[in-house]
């Protein structure tokens, strides 16, 4: 049994495997399938100041090795989360990461202020491709990434700030640096890639929103490349995600420079994906006689 414990921005995680925002709700449903206290952390469904109803249905479609979604940030609002769900998540002993989105800079400041000191991390969603209020406008260019990070950080005196980066950008390295310069304590990437799937019989896009975020096994090479580039551009910890389905996939991201990983779409394909990824990661380390997962962080050497 390898040592899977990691510490990110002073927060101790029992392993580096975190549920990605939007795929895991607030943990209750998956806790009916397995004990979610076995996870390193849980990033919540994206929260906004007010409840949101999200986009029309259908909100999901499938392509080969990928899915496309446009839920549109349906969520019960930050107050409901604090009142009804935070206590449950805390009781499970997992790192609680509140994923937040806003329409304006003030929204980001306000929602961060509300969560300051209540959760283990605030993860800034500045990259939701599916709604205007998802902060995508802030997540494209380095200048605006720095600005929204500064405002959020100012409101978070007690809680580390994780900035989630969009892959739909010109330079992931420049954007990672912008988050660092704005005061981010760590970054996570990648959010989904904007895509479209067409039903050729109906000659219409398969999801109501027309475009959506592409995720799943098929995007992994893009995500690994971006995690590598971001990790080499900043000094703060990087949390990697994008198409992780197995323990070996997690190893790949960690070698690219990720201190921890997030798992999203795999939960849909396999309800027990996360416990199996943790087990697979441990088994890989054992097979290679590596005592501590931290020994492989960023160990990849370019040809």
């Amino acid at each position: 049994m390898a040592d899977l414990k990691v510490e990110i921005c002073g927060v101790k995680l029992k392993n580096p495997v975190i549920a990605a925002s939007g795929t895991f709700g607030f943990g209750r449903e998956y806790n009916e399938i397995y004990d979610i206290s076995s996870l390193g952390g849980i990033s919540t469904k994206g929260l906004t100041l007010e409840p949101r109803q999200g986009n029309p249905v259908p909100r999901i479609a499938e392509g080969r090795s990928i899915i496309l979604n446009a839920v549109g940030l349906q969520n019960p609002g930050v107050e409901s989360f604090i009142e009804k769900d935070l206590g449950f998540l805390k009781s499970k002993g997992v790192a609680v990461i509140a994923n937040v989105a806003g329409r304006t800079l003030e929204d980001y400041g306000n929602i961060c202020a509300r969560l300051n000191g209540l959760v283990d991390f605030v993860e800034l969603n500045i990259s939701c491709p599916n709604v205007k209020a998802g902060g995508m406008a802030f997540g494209i260019r380095p200048e605006s990434i720095k600005e929204v990070t500064l405002i959020s950080k100012r409101a978070l005196s007690l809680t580390p700030l994780m900035v989630k980066l969009s892959p739909n950008v010109e330079s992931i390295a420049a954007n990672a640096q912008a988050a660092q310069n704005g005061g981010a304590d760590c970054i996570s990437l990648i959010n989904t890639l904007t895509g479209m799937v067409i039903d050729i019989e109906r000659r219409k896009p398969l999801i109501a929103n027309n475009t959506g975020g592409v995720s799943g096994a098929g995007i992994k090479p893009i995500a690994v490349r971006m995690v590598y580039e971001a990790a080499h551009a900043v000094k703060i910890p990087v949390i990697g995600m994008g198409g992780i389905m197995t323990g070996e996939d997690a190893v790949e991201f960690i070698m690219a420079g990720a201190s921890a990983v997030q798992v999203g779409t795999a939960n849909f394909a396999n309800a027990n994906a996360m416990p199996q990824i943790i087990q697979g990661l441990n088994a890989w380390l054992d097979r290679h006689n590596i005592a501590d997962v931290k020994q492989i962080t960023g160990c990849v050497k370019l040809n």
């Binding site: 399938i33 249905v57 999901i60 499938e62 090795s65 969520n75 096994a217 396999n270 027990n272």
Partner: protein, 253 residues
């Protein structure tokens, strides 16, 4: 709710483009109610979404669900052979709660008949069912023997190639005044359920009516908020977790 690896017992075509797959669970998944569904993997890593299919027959550890060939995923599913493993998550959703109702009308259209069959099987000993099931044509007809124990059965086809010409909803409304109903259960295409709702209102029939809805799903367990429907109060409900069975008056169709 259990995540299990089942063994496939059979996977056969039962009508044009329609298959029934029967699998055996390694352990009991607990009580299963008609209207609940299984989320099953098509057994191919390039298809990341599971297929949510209404449970048709549940006898101990042996479960049968039916599906229509639609795209690559269901085509892949149709190739699964006896003895193959199948990753299944079940039972999901709420199902039909028929406690307290004795005389029940069953209205099904096309592949919508399958969850209704489970509800009939579960309750046939103690309740009276009056069934109206509709198909596109004779070639789509399947499992009508499952309705044998109902007090009455009316089969319709759109093209008149079998049974009564027309649809199940219209056939039901021809009889409704002669039935002393306590409840109605229905499952079928959105247009059918919409027409049912409109006609119940128009004919001032206020018998409780429960419909099972279909929507494209992500997780199938209520976490991802992909498969929502609109409720009359303006809020969203999760088809997979709050449903798939709803009171017809609570949802916007």
């Amino acid at each position: 709710m259990k995540d299990l690896i089942a063994k496939v017992k059979s996977n056969q075509m039962i009508a044009e483009n329609t298959y029934m797959i029967t699998f055996v669970l390694p352990e009991s998944a607990g009580d299963i109610r008609g209207g609940q569904f299984v989320n099953l993997s098509v057994g191919d890593s390039s298809h990341l979404l599971r297929r949510p299919l209404g449970i048709c027959i549940a006898e101990g550890k042996e479960i049968s669900v039916c599906y229509q060939l639609k795209g690559e995923g269901t085509k892949k599913l149709s190739k699964i052979k006896t003895g193959d493993s199948l990753n299944v998550l079940l039972p999901l959703g709420n199902g039909f709660d028929l406690s307290g109702y004795k005389n029940i009308a069953v209205i099904g259209g096309g592949v919508g008949i399958f969850p209704l069959i489970a509800a009939i099987r579960e309750n046939i000993k103690h309740k009276n069912f009056y069934s109206y099931i509709g198909f596109r044509s004779k070639s789509a007809l399947c499992l009508i023997n499952e309705f044998d124990k109902c007090k009455s059965l009316t089969v319709t086809t759109d093209d008149g190639s079998y049974g009564k010409s027309g649809n199940a909803v219209d056939a039901f409304f021809e009889d409704v005044q002669n039935l002393n109903l306590d409840a109605i259960i229905a499952c079928g295409p959105p247009s059918m359920l919409k027409s049912l709702k409109e006609k119940l209102l128009k004919n001032a029939i206020d018998v409780p009516c429960f419909v099972s809805l279909e929507e494209r799903m992500g997780c199938g367990v209520g976490a991802c908020l992909v498969c929502v429907c609109k409720k009359n109060d303006g809020n969203n409900a999760r088809v997979c977790k709050d449903g798939p069975v709803f009171n017809i008056n609570d949802v916007v169709l």
